[in-house]
Symmetry: C2
Subunit: 287 residues, 2 copies
C-alpha cells in the first residue's frame, strides 16, 4: 500500500475557485502590490508567478521595482505610499532583502491590515494568541492540505521540523489552534528520528534534501514536505528535491506531498486568499 | 536522593536586588499603574502585593479602582489616560475582567511600550518571532528558575502542559528561543504521561491539583509547577496545591519548585523587572 499523494495543483485550483466566488461579492477589485528590491532571478520568478496568478483570478496586481542599492529609506517610502493607497489591499515585500536593509524594520512598516505575508509582529501575535490574523501563506497552505485528509486534528500529535518565523513557527501555531499536540524541532534537536516517529502529522521545513527517512515516519502519518533544495543530477542539470526521502516515505505514510507540485502551488493560492481576506476586512471597516 | 527545591522567595530576592541596582542608573523613578475593575477579594490581594513590592523597591505604584459595573468605555478612558502620562512606565490591567468587558479589546488598548504584562499582540508577536519584547511575568519567572539550574538549554526537550496565552504559550516560546525542543500539550493531548516522560524540563500550568505523578517525570528532569489550586483540607480550612504530586516528583526530579513559595514570588519580581525594562526603553527613546 502506498500513500495518497496530495496534489498541490489540484488543491490550489479548488481554493482559487472558491476565492473567485467570493470576489463577486466584493464592491471593488482587490489590489495586490509586490515590492521587489534588486534583480535576484529566483525572486523575479516568484514575483512574476504571484502577479500572474493575481491577474488570472481578476485581482489588480502591480510590482514596485527598486534597484539593489536602494536605501532603507527608499523602501520605507514605497511602503508608506502603498499603505496610504485605498486601492491597495495587500502588500508583499519579496524576501530576502539586500543585507544593508533591516528586514525587521521593513516588516514592521507594512500596515498590519495589508500584511498579506503575515510577517508583521501584530499578525504573528494574533496568531500566537489564537485570534483572527493574516497568517503566512506557506503554513496556511500546509494546513489546508492536512485538513483535506483529516478535518479534525484534535489530539493528534504534530511534529514540525524547522522553526523559522515564515514557516515553522506559524505552522506550529496553526496546528495548536486546531487542538493538536505540537512538538517544534530544529537544528539543535536531539533524537529527532524518535520524535518524528510519534507524529500523526509531520511537517518538514528545513531545506535539507532527503533529511526525513522512511523509518522516521509513523505508519499512516500525514507527511507535508515544505523543503525545496536544488540538487545536481548525475546526468547534468538540476532537480528540486524536498526534505523527505519520498520513495521511502510513500510506503509508510497515509498521505504525502510531492516536491515539486505539493506545497508550492498552495502558497500562491493562499496569498490570493489573504489578499481577498484583507480586502474584505478593509471594505467592511470603510463601510 | 531528592531534588533540589527551588526557593522562589530566594530567587525573587536576588532578582529584586539586581533591579534595585539598575534603578540607580535611571534618570527618574519608574511608575507602575495597576487597574482593578470590581472587588474580587483574590484580585485585591494580588494588586496589593504588586503595589507593595513596587514601593518597597522604590518604584512609584498606583492603583486605579473601577467599580464592577464600569463600562468598557470607562476602562478604555482610564487606559488612554495612563498611556498618555509621562510618569507611568507600566500599565497592568488585573485579570479576570467582568464578563461584559471584552478583554482582548482592553489588552489591545494598552500602549505596547507600557504593556508590562506582555499581553498585547505586538509583544506576543515579537516574542513569537524571537525578538526583544515585554513578556508575561509568570513564564519569565519560570525561565529564570530553570536557568538557575541549567544555563544552556540548547537541545533539551521541554514539555509545557497547558497552552494559555498568559503562561503556556509564552513559556513554550521562551524555551524555543533558548534552543530547546518544545512540546506544547493541553487538555486534548493523548498519552500525556508518555510525552512528559521525555521532558528534560517539565512545566505544568493547568491548575489541576496533583495531575503530574512521579512516574510522569524523567529522572533528573527540572520540574516547574505553575498550578495553584485551593483544596479543602480534611481537618478543615484550605491549602494551595500545585499541579505536581510533590512528594512523588521530588524523588525523581533533579530540581523542583514547591507550591506555594515557588513560581509565585518570581512572577511579582518579574513584573518589577518588566516595569524597569519599560522605563529604561522609554527613557532611551525620549533622550
Amino acid at each position: 500500500m502506498t500513500a495518497n499523494i496530495l496534489d498541490g495543483h489540484m488543491h490550489a485550483r479548488i481554493l482559487i475557485d472558491s476565492i473567485a466566488d467570493e470576489l463577486d461579492q466584493l464592491p471593488r477589485v482587490p489590489g495586490l502590490a509586490v515590492v521587489l528590491v534588486g534583480d535576484d532571478p529566483a525572486s523575479q520568478i516568484y514575483v512574476q508567478s504571484k502577479i500572474r496568478m493575481a491577474e488570472r483570478l481578476g485581482l489588480r496586481g502591480e510590482v514596485e521595482f527598486l534597484s539593489h542599492d536602494a536605501s532603507e529609506a527608499d523602501l520605507l517610502g514605497v511602503i508608506d505610499a502603498l499603505n496610504a493607497r485605498d486601492d491597495i489591499d495587500g502588500i508583499l515585500v519579496q524576501l530576502p532583502l539586500p543585507a544593508h536593509i533591516d528586514t525587521l524594520r521593513i516588516m514592521a512598516a507594512v500596515d498590519p491590515c495589508k500584511d498579506v505575508d503575515g510577517l508583521h509582529a501584530l499578525n504573528a501575535g494574533r496568531l500566537f494568541h489564537g485570534d483572527d490574523a493574516l497568517v503566512p501563506c506557506t503554513p496556511l497552505g500546509c494546513l489546508r492540505l492536512i485538513k483535506s485528509i483529516r478535518t479534525d486534528l484534535t489530539g493528534c500529535h504534530a511534529v514540525v521540523i524547522g522553526s523559522s518565523n515564515v514557516v515553522g513557527k506559524p505552522m506550529a501555531a496553526l496546528l495548536l489552534k486546531e487542538h493538536a499536540t505540537v512538538t517544534q524541532t530544529h537544528v539543535h534537536t536531539r533524537g529527532i528520528s524518535d520524535i518524528c516517529r510519534q507524529a500523526d502529522i509531520l511537517v518538514s521545513a528545513v531545506g535539507k534534501a532527503g533529511l526525513v527517512r522512511g523509518d522516521w515516519i509513523k505508519p499512516q502519518a500525514i507527511v507535508i514536505d515544505v523543503g525545496t533544495t536544488r540538487v545536481e543530477k548525475p546526468e547534468g542539470g538540476y532537480e528540486v528535491r524536498g526534505d523527505v526521502t519520498f520513495d521511502e516515505a510513500v510506503r509508510v505514510a497515509s498521505a504525502i506531498t510531492p516536491v515539486p507540485r505539493g506545497v508550492g502551488p498552495m502558497t500562491i493560492a493562499c496569498l490570493m486568499e489573504n489578499t481577498v481576506k484583507a480586502a474584505k476586512a478593509r471594505s467592511a471597516r470603510l463601510q
